[in-house]
Symmetry: C2
Subunit: 340 residues, 2 copies
């Protein structure tokens, strides 16, 4: 075996495109690549290492002979097709929300709980994008000081709603410049110069599903059902990096003088915290980067043992495709052991 037979379902979407690109960029050991998308894209091609690969429609017969499927479809399609892929013996890394909260499904952020992946893992879930970047930033605090309470406000980019949503925001920008009315189809209201405090549908408790994903997935990833978490998720007119203002109440106190060095050593984190020179993470700089950027780190004024900080990450990369590829790398090490 000199490579894996890999499939990407939803390969023409914003996340699928990044998965394809990252397989190339990381020289993932692919012997054969299959691309699946909706009927609309059937027969079209996408380039992989310079060669055109014909896109096939996703169907019940898509999975035979694959070793690994990276799934970037909707949760609805994931529910329909992934059980079939598993029946066929394919290992699946699923970016959708369909199976994340099932007790038997590992929900993985490689910087936090990589050991939950082992050779028996058949289906691994990639967490919600806002959750992933928050968890990377929480991990060092959890390990060193213990976390009691998390309050987070998000500033989420259009990319979280897909490629057409990004195009809608850009289209609104051009319409504004031309004096034309702003059209909204992917979002309930125009996003340009606006904020929409509503991502995914509302639950009975007044929170959105996006907010509850941040609560429930974070608890599952850290195996801390007792954590008190509250989230406000807001869509902002940014193209592809999510930002979060996070306040933690910690179990133990920490030394504010060493916290920046401490965070800088944590896996997957780049600290950008230099107020004197206007240094802090911003979506415009973090787009297209794989790391989670942390800044504005300061002793929180509302808690005795508290810290507040600002976290930015590319939603399509660390929030989706890159986290999935990291999982694929670990899975390869533990299951197939194929070198690139």
């Amino acid at each position: 075996m000199n490579g894996l037979r890999v499939g990407i379902a939803g390969s023409t979407g914003a996340v699928g495109i990044e998965m394809l690109r990252l397989l190339e960029e990381t020289a993932f050991p692919v012997s054969e690549l299959s691309l699946f998308a909706s009927e609309r894209s059937t027969g079209m091609t996408q380039l992989y290492k310079g060669r055109p690969i014909t896109i096939k429609p996703l169907s019940e017969n898509s999975f035979r002979g694959l070793d690994l499927l990276l799934n970037a479809t909707s949760a609805e399609l994931a529910e329909q097709f992934l059980p079939i892929a598993r029946e066929e013996g394919v290992r699946v890394i699923d970016n959708s929300s369909a199976f994340r909260m099932r007790p038997e499904v590992p929900l993985i952020v490689p910087e936090v709980n990589p050991d939950r992946i082992d050779s028996t893992s058949r289906l691994i879930a990639n967490p919600n994008c806002s959750t992933i970047q928050m968890c990377v930033a929480l991990a060092p605090f959890d390990q060193a000081f213990g976390i009691r309470r998390i309050i987070v406000s998000t500033y989420q980019a259009a990319s979280g709603a897909g490629k057409e949503a990004m195009e809608e925001l850009i289209g609104q920008t051009k319409a504004y410049a031309n004096g034309s009315p702003l059209k909204a189809e992917k979002f309930p209201y125009p996003l340009l110069f606006n904020l929409i405090p509503h991502i995914d549908r509302f639950e009975e408790n007044g929170y959105t599903r996006e907010e509850m994903k941040m609560v429930n997935e974070t608890r599952k990833i850290f195996e801390k059902p007792e954590w008190k978490i509250s989230a406000t998720a807001v869509r902002v007119p940014v193209i592809r990096a999510h930002s979060e203002a996070i306040t933690l109440e910690l179990e133990k106190n920490y030394d504010p003088n060493t916290i920046i060095t401490f965070l800088g050593r944590a896996p997957g984190i780049v600290v950008r915290d230099d107020p004197e020179h206007n240094g802090y993470p911003m979506p415009a700089d973090v787009a297209h980067r794989k790391e989670v950027f942390v800044g504005r780190i300061r002793k929180d004024l509302a808690f005795d043992n508290g810290v507040s900080f600002w976290v930015v990450a590319d939603q399509l990369l660390k929030g989706a495709a890159w986290n999935a590829i990291q999982i694929a790398q670990i899975l390869n090490e533990r299951v197939w052991g194929i070198r690139a």
Copy 2:
């Protein structure tokens, strides 16, 4: 006396323009109106009730004969000129930050502490824009349940940095549509499709002055120095309404079933909270409105007695000019008693 001799300093700025318009709209009893701005605008005119009024340069001799000065200059100019206005016996309502924290200066949000205005008030400070809208929303919770802790993340519009900052954002939008580079002068970085977690200068404790204004001014307005408050202030690509995600820990528990009705009765608040029909406050709807809009009201999940909500207000109106005009109306009632 059938009217007041009123001056506006900084009348050509974003806030000054709204002050002028609101004097008209509210039929404030003005017998004579003087407009002051920088040398640049000298000799130009602004319309008041259809009549052009010539703009004069702000100088030490500007104040003689005025009853009331609405100040919309920078803090630096306020420090230079307002003591002279007071010497001349002029009552001053100052929108700048120059005198807000002086113990002898009332810092007023009319929905919260109108009784701090009396006939002896010579200089009254208008609070910081983000602080005002938060305080209007806090007031009913403070009165009914008591507040222990406040955690707030802001989403602040370009208008907070003035008229040229609003124009800069619009200019970037047009440049983007034309494929030209984005210019940034009023903000440290381009704001279009970006977020800048930096408003006003940084303090030694890692917070910005904007964030510390929200802490210190809120405590002063409510006379609650013991309140635990932490803020993260972020500039977002929105033109003129500020938004805030607020989480409160309360002293007493409340009935979540009646909280919407309860908030809807509070002065200055419009509740827009209808998740089923995508009803929540957004900057695009709240711009040019005088009230503070509250939505996404829900039992907070991080505190036993907690509430989270989303607050949007027009930064130039309730966050600045309208709050100042409300103060002027109360001052008129208590000092001069002139009917419109």
